[in-house]
């Protein structure tokens, strides 16, 4: 099982760390994501600096954050997007959808 963690900081930022891959995306992670998004401020910055590995399902997980945030009228931004993630986003043509800063 891959190790992936989400941490909500007091300043409103969210830190993703570890391997954001297929095996990491468990139902528990989903529930945690919903809880963090519900409690978060109107603008949420996700720092991806500590994501060590990412696959296409990991990018799909970020798309789900965008969708869930949109439903709650919250604005998401992605900081420090790793190169591997950028490649997948580029090949899939998701640059316009994902709010990369």
């Amino acid at each position: 099982m891959s190790t992936f963690l989400i941490k909500a900081n007091a300043d409103g930022s969210v830190l993703f760390s570890g391997e954001l891959v297929y095996s990491a995306i468990t139902p528990g992670l989903w529930e945690q994501s919903k809880e963090i998004l519900t409690k978060a401020a109107a603008a949420i910055a996700i720092n991806l600096n500590d994501v060590t590995q990412c696959d296409s399902t990991g990018v799909a997980f970020i798309v789900s954050w965008v969708r869930l945030a949109g439903k709650q009228n919250k604005k998401l931004s992605l900081l420090n997007v790793p190169a591997q993630m950028r490649t997948i986003i580029h090949v899939s043509g998701l640059e316009k959808l994902l709010p990369i800063l």
Binding site: Y22, S23, P27, D55, S56, V63, R67
Partner: protein
């Protein structure tokens, strides 16, 4: 030839379960050829393509046992015929998936060339070049790919010219038993590729990077047996959600992970659907409203899948407003357009772009299915049209949708199979 008769106008309501993914089942069944011990696979859908694959493996000498809860145990220890005949391969292009496993495990393979494909060119030259790169001698003679290798395949780096799911899977399977390390660059990233890698790793393979554009396979000498559950079919799930959106209905689908069809959910929400999700379910509610037109551009996963393009068009032709659908994956995947036009749809084609102006009421008509997903889209159009629609040549649908009429009836649709 069977047909489906649909009387449209009923908003879909209710709950259904999603079957195992066809696009994961076929490669995983082919991969059982690599195992030195029996393998038990669950969540296998009852589809024509699955039956064809079992027939193919059976002809080689594989044995099957159906266990509890419809688990299929596959034993390939007695395989003696490394041969995939034209009669089977011509009905299912995915048959070429046996090429890699046969070569890797038995050192030889004779596989018929698959022939034409309705949705566009899907050449097998990348499969052949990949096997050659792994050290196989490959010749194409009399319509057959004849491949052999002395001793073991040799690990190497393969850069795929274009991103192809089947070729990525074939090479990954072949490299599993190769000597040394193989790196596949520009690999396909679909969840079904990851599912195959997970399956192989369950049997003792050493594969990393599946789901990214670079897959690394450290060859092992043998694979053991094991148990595996096929992942849910994201395209089947998307198709039923689109059907509910078309008909202004409210449905819940279960046994599905929402994460694997996020791009589709985004588009359906844009079309006006309220979507809620849980651990293993998705609910869509149109609140009785007509969908809004949404622009779609197909691209590799996790973007909007080409396998959902036709179904999204079925939503758009009855939607409020005008939309564009851009198909970037296959060059000839708008064959459903003419049939939809017969039902009154307002669609203009410009190269790889379809411009749909939604109309309030489609009218039922006899239509003809041309490929798997196009067929599904015509069923969706029939569900929303006024009057009766008869969809002919539904053998395409039976290749990829388990019990489609039963599931739609469960959701309240007026649909029946007419055998002739």
């Amino acid at each position: 030839m069977d047909k489906l008769m649909i009387t449209g106008g009923v908003p879909l309501q209710g709950e259904i379960r999603i079957s195992g993914a066809k696009n994961a089942t076929l490669p995983i069944l082919a991969a059982t050829l690599l195992a030195s011990e029996p393998v038990a696979i669950s969540n296998i859908p009852h589809l024509h393509d699955v039956t064809t694959t079992l027939e193919l493996l059976s002809g080689m000498g594989a044995q099957f046992t159906v266990g509890e809860r419809m688990t299929l145990e596959v034993d390939t220890r007695d395989v003696t015929q490394c041969y995939a005949p034209y009669e089977l391969v011509r009905t299912m292009r995915a048959s070429i998936l046996v090429l890699g496993p046969l070569l890797a495990r038995y050192g030889e393979a004779t596989v018929s060339l698959p022939g034409g494909c309705a949705i566009g060119a899907r050449p097998v030259n990348l499969h052949i070049a990949g096997m050659q790169a792994l050290g196989a001698e490959v010749q194409v003679e009399n319509g057959y790919i004849k491949a052999k290798v002395k001793n073991r395949l040799q690990g190497t780096t393969v850069v795929l010219e274009t991103v192809t799911v089947t070729c990525t899977e074939n090479l990954m399977m072949a490299a599993t038993l190769a000597k040394g390390t193989t790196v596949i660059k520009n690999a396909a990233r679909e969840p079904e590729v990851e599912d195959l890698a997970n399956f192989l790793n369950t049997l003792g393979a050493k594969i990393s990077g599946a789901g990214t554009d670079t897959i690394v396979i450290e060859g092992v000498e043998r694979l053991s047996g094991g148990e595996y559950r096929i992942l849910p079919d994201r395209i089947e799930a998307g198709t039923y959600l689109a059907a509910a959106a078309c008909t202004r209905g409210r449905i819940r689908i279960k046994d599905i992970s929402p994460n694997i069809l996020e791009s589709v959910l985004l588009k359906l929400e844009e079309a006006g659907a309220s979507i809620s999700t849980g651990e293993n379910w998705i609910e869509l509610n149109m609140h009785g409203n007509r969908p809004r037109a949404v622009d779609v551009r197909t691209a590799p996963y996790p973007a909007f899948p080409t396998d959902m393009q036709a179904q999204m068009m079925a939503v758009n032709i009855g939607a409020e407003g005008t939309s564009t659908i851009i198909e970037t994956v296959f060059e000839n995947r708008f064959m459903h357009v003419q049939e939809m036009q017969r039902m009154g749809a307002n669609i203009k084609l410009e190269g790889n772009t379809a411009i749909c102006t939604g109309i309030e009421t489609l009218s039922g008509a006899p239509v003809m299915a041309t490929d798997l997903r196009a067929s599904a889209s015509l069923v969706l159009a029939g569900l929303v049209a006024k009057g009766d629609t008869i969809v002919d040549r539904i053998y395409h649908i039976d290749r990829g949708y388990e019990c489609i009429e039963e599931k739609l009836r469960q959701l309240g649709a007026l649909i029946q199979r007419i055998s002739s």
